[in-house]
């Protein structure tokens, strides 16, 4: 490898542009003070759009940067797009909420931008070191964002819980990474893959390291049994932050999980598949069963996201191009339906106070028919009922599972999806069958209305034009398997 004085940094252009813009916004915010929150938020959304444009202009070609520690390919392009959309929507929807709650500060969009930078680095990591740096860059910003409503004990508690458990999982991950490095002698993904693909027997130490890595990453994607923080953090954090957590960091962590499993440890698929299958089954079953008893809608969404991670892991367990494609399609659809569902939760406000009980949705179909219809679409989609997008998401996952002869896993998947349908449909029941108890505050902010409209339309009418999304997901998935 020729040692140049300056490594090739061009593949990481979006990842470098974003923090630069974040710093600029920090300065804008510092000059404008408290009044600058809305301006900085809009500028942050604009910054994300610019970065997205730069990213898309870069194209899906496979390019390495920083001596192979960083990779930009179709997979990274796909996942980064999702992450950027998720972050942008979170900033957009947080504006009004933060003003209502009296926590409108310009640091919020800046922190989200910094976390997003970390996520993008995670998605493009091609080396154990890059992986860890990206993850911590994301985490540090997220800990602060979780406790952003700092005068609220619940929010502070959420932030602290997230910090302690996040630190624990990072420790486990780092320990695993060090073991892998110790036994493999390298931190580069490509070198590890080459080593493992060789005929030499794989050292048990490396397998142990891999298990620690999986445990650490399972924390980040909140797969059972490493899910304990999720309901508490989702419930305690301010609602737009919970929405953000449910979307962007989850996408990034899953992208990282997939890349680590497929790129360096792909040859060990026989070893890690059983762990992923276990995580998947445990998450699906626990997510479905535990959600039944929930009364708080934010906790319900937390358990729902645990369940969905279970379905996503089916695709990873398959370990094939079809499986990864299924995961990517699922993630894109999940982004839309989840953002939509959280958007409706953001509308749950009476006399200026946020309300979070499922029972508060009673009779929504009479008081706010459009909102009820939108939430109904999201719930049926999350439950995977056709013709909504959620059905097609599950279809591709199960398709991959049958293809990889994981029939047992697929059967457990569909059965738990019926259990899960119970609690999603229960929300529809509360909205449509129960008598109204009181109306929500009007009006809904324009941005929120727009987001709800777009997500509902995409969720309902996905079946008309599934081609482009599925096509780019297929391209992204196959880019991961290029050695």
């Amino acid at each position: 490898m020729p040692h140049l004085a300056v490594p090739d940094m061009s593949p990481a252009l979006p990842e470098m542009l974003l923090p630069a813009l974040a710093m600029a916004l920090l300065i804008v915010g510092a000059f404008r003070g408290e009044r600058g929150a809305r301006l900085v938020s809009w500028l942050a959304v604009f910054a994300l759009i610019v970065v997205l444009a730069v990213l898309l202009l870069g194209g899906p070609e496979r390019r390495f940067g920083f001596y192979g520690m960083f990779v930009s390919d179709a997979f990274a392009l796909f996942m980064n797009t999702l992450v950027l959309i998720g972050s942008g929507v979170a900033i957009l929807l947080a504006m009004d909420y933060n003003e209502e709650q009296g926590i409108a500060r310009f640091e919020f969009p800046v922190l989200v931008l910094l976390a997003t930078t970390g996520m993008m680095v995670m998605v493009s990591a091609n080396d154990l070191i890059t992986l860890y740096v990206g993850l911590e860059l994301q985490n540090l910003a997220l800990y602060v964002v979780a406790s952003f409503d700092r005068d609220s004990p619940r929010s502070s508690e959420a932030g602290l819980k997230y910090f302690v458990l996040g630190g624990l999982s990072s420790g486990m991950l780092l320990y695993g990474l060090s073991l892998v490095y110790g036994f493999a002698g390298t931190t580069g993904f490509a070198e590890i893959a080459r080593l493992l693909a060789g005929s030499a027997p794989v050292s048990p130490g490396l397998i142990v390291g891999l298990v620690f890595v999986i445990a650490g990453l399972a924390f980040k994607i909140s797969a059972v049994p490493f899910h304990m923080w999720t309901p508490d953090v989702y419930e305690g954090a301010p609602t737009p932050v919970s929405m953000f957590f449910a979307v962007a960091p989850k996408m990034a962590a899953l992208a990282l999980f997939i890349r680590v499993m497929i790129a360096p440890f792909g040859p060990l698929v026989g070893e890690w598949r059983q762990i992923v299958v276990f995580l998947s089954i445990a998450s699906m079953v626990f997510g479905a069963v535990a959600a039944i008893a929930q009364r708080n809608v934010k906790r319900l969404m937390a358990y729902s996201s645990i369940g969905h991670v279970g379905y996503l892991l089916i695709g990873l367990a398959a370990g094939t191009t079809e499986g990864i494609r299924g995961v990517l399609v699922y993630l894109a659809i999940y982004l839309f339906m989840n953002v939509g569902a959280w958007g409706v939760i953001l509308c749950m406000r009476r006399q200026g106070q946020m309300i979070e009980e499922i029972a508060d949705l009673a009779g929504l179909s009479r008081t706010r028919p459009a909102l009820a219809l939108a939430l109904g679409i999201f719930m049926f989609s999350l439950a995977g009922i056709p013709p909504t997008a959620g059905f097609f998401a599950k279809l591709y996952i199960f398709f991959a599972a049958i293809d990889a002869h994981l029939v047992g896993l697929a059967v457990i998947g569909v059965v738990t999806s019926v259990v899960g349908a119970f609690y999603y449909v229960r929300i529809v029941k509360v909205m449509y069958f129960d008598e109204p108890t009181g109306a929500f505050d009007t009006p809904i902010a324009g941005e929120l209305k727009g987001v709800l409209f777009v997500t509902a339309v995409v969720t309902l009418f996905f079946f008309l034009l599934p081609g482009p999304l599925v096509g780019s997901a297929a391209a992204a998935a196959s880019s991961l398997f290029v050695r």
């Binding site: 056709p386 059905f391 199960f398 569909v414 999806s417 019926v418 449909v425 529809v428 449509y432």
Partner: protein, 508 residues
Amino acid sequence: MSHWPLLSLVTFLPLVGVFFILIARGEEAVVARNARFIALWTSLIVFALSVLLWVRFDPNTAAFQFVERAQWVTFGGFTFTYHMGIDGVSLFFILLSTLLTLLAIVSAWRVITFQVKEFMVAFLVLETFMVGIFCALDFIVFYVFFEGVLVPMFLIIGIWGAENRVYSAFKFFLYTLLGSVLMLLAILAIYFATGTTDIEYALNHSQLFSAGLQKWLWLAFFASFAIKVPMWPVHTWLPDAHVEAPTAGSVILAGILLKLGGYGFIRFSLPMFPLASHYFTPLIFTLSAIAVIYTSLVALAQTDMKKLVAYSSIAHMGFVTMGIFALTSEAVQGAVIQMLSHGLVSAALFLCVGVLYDRLHTHEIARFGGLVERMPAYAFVFMAFTLAAVGLPGTSGFVGEFLILLGTFRVNTLECFLVATALFLGPMYMLYLYRRVIFGTLTRADLRGILDLSPRETAIFVPLLLLVLWMGIYPTSFLRPIQVSVDHIVAQATLATSAAGMRRASLP
């Protein structure tokens, strides 16, 4: 007109009505009135178009007709095609769906007083899904329609149902969902066996499924269809759903949704998995015999009219499942006719119950008696459909039951004998019901002022009665298109079993 995508028109035209209902603005009463009329006109036009299908249908071929094909999604060799087409088996189910939707909307004209707009939207969406199920020739398209039906029906039971509606709506939804998700996995397995999700291809290439695979696939489809039929012992959702559903919902539930199971057996299980169908025939025969005898006895003990009619439906569907798996041309034709007949008759019976419910808001048999004095026209209509339900010659019920018994007798005499007990159990519970409701003395004060059928109600019953008589007196007009397709399916199934060396012992 022959180049028009007639099937897609019939399927998706109701959604145009939905669109117009949704954009209707104004006061609540005006919106409700507009919604009713839009729904009525939409369903009328759809029904007219479906009649056109019958007129243009060529009864001399078993091939699929009115075929439409369009690429839907394709990548990496995985293609879904939007593929529609009908044969003699599906033709009349489409007509039944469009007719019953029309009648259901008329029957709900005055009864549904709140959220009228939503009610009409739910029915039109339901119509799209139901017609789509019978037209679909791609598994994914089929499945989307098949499971999509659950959503509007769930809302119809849950919003406009009786007191215990929430429990019933959930039971209906989760029960049927559990069955269909297993079918989804089977569909994916079929894709890997055949390389396509095209139904027509799979029908003509059943040899691609090994005998072992067939058994698993058959069981997965069975899980879905047996719940829909419903077969004993997975029938328990049906009485609950019927009792709580509004009358119009019961009409669709009994008239169409119960037929999906039987249709699925004929369309998929027989021709695609002939070896497994042969293997599992004893299971079906046992369950059918139990269903017929057990639910007939249960019906005898009911105190609620709707529950009684619901249990009688299960008994009638026992006939159908037996006829399908007897796998003789007569029996399968009889099963199709029996399903159509039951679609008309049970819909009419639920409407009869609904007439009383609208007046007194109860289904309890003991609350009635002596109605013949005040409601002679109603008594006549109810009598006509009661007799059709018990299979009196000259009504549609007779044709179906006769053909089924005729076809099964050659295959399994004992089974035929057991199921034939329904021929005297049926009249027992139906005539017992009739005596308690219509005859006797008029004792209750609130029954003295009860009104006879209104012109609107008469207008609903007259076409149903005419159809029941037409099908009973001159069944050939219906049998002719059905026969060719059924012969083809039965030939496919028997050919495969005899090729595998499994001769039917009792065949001559």
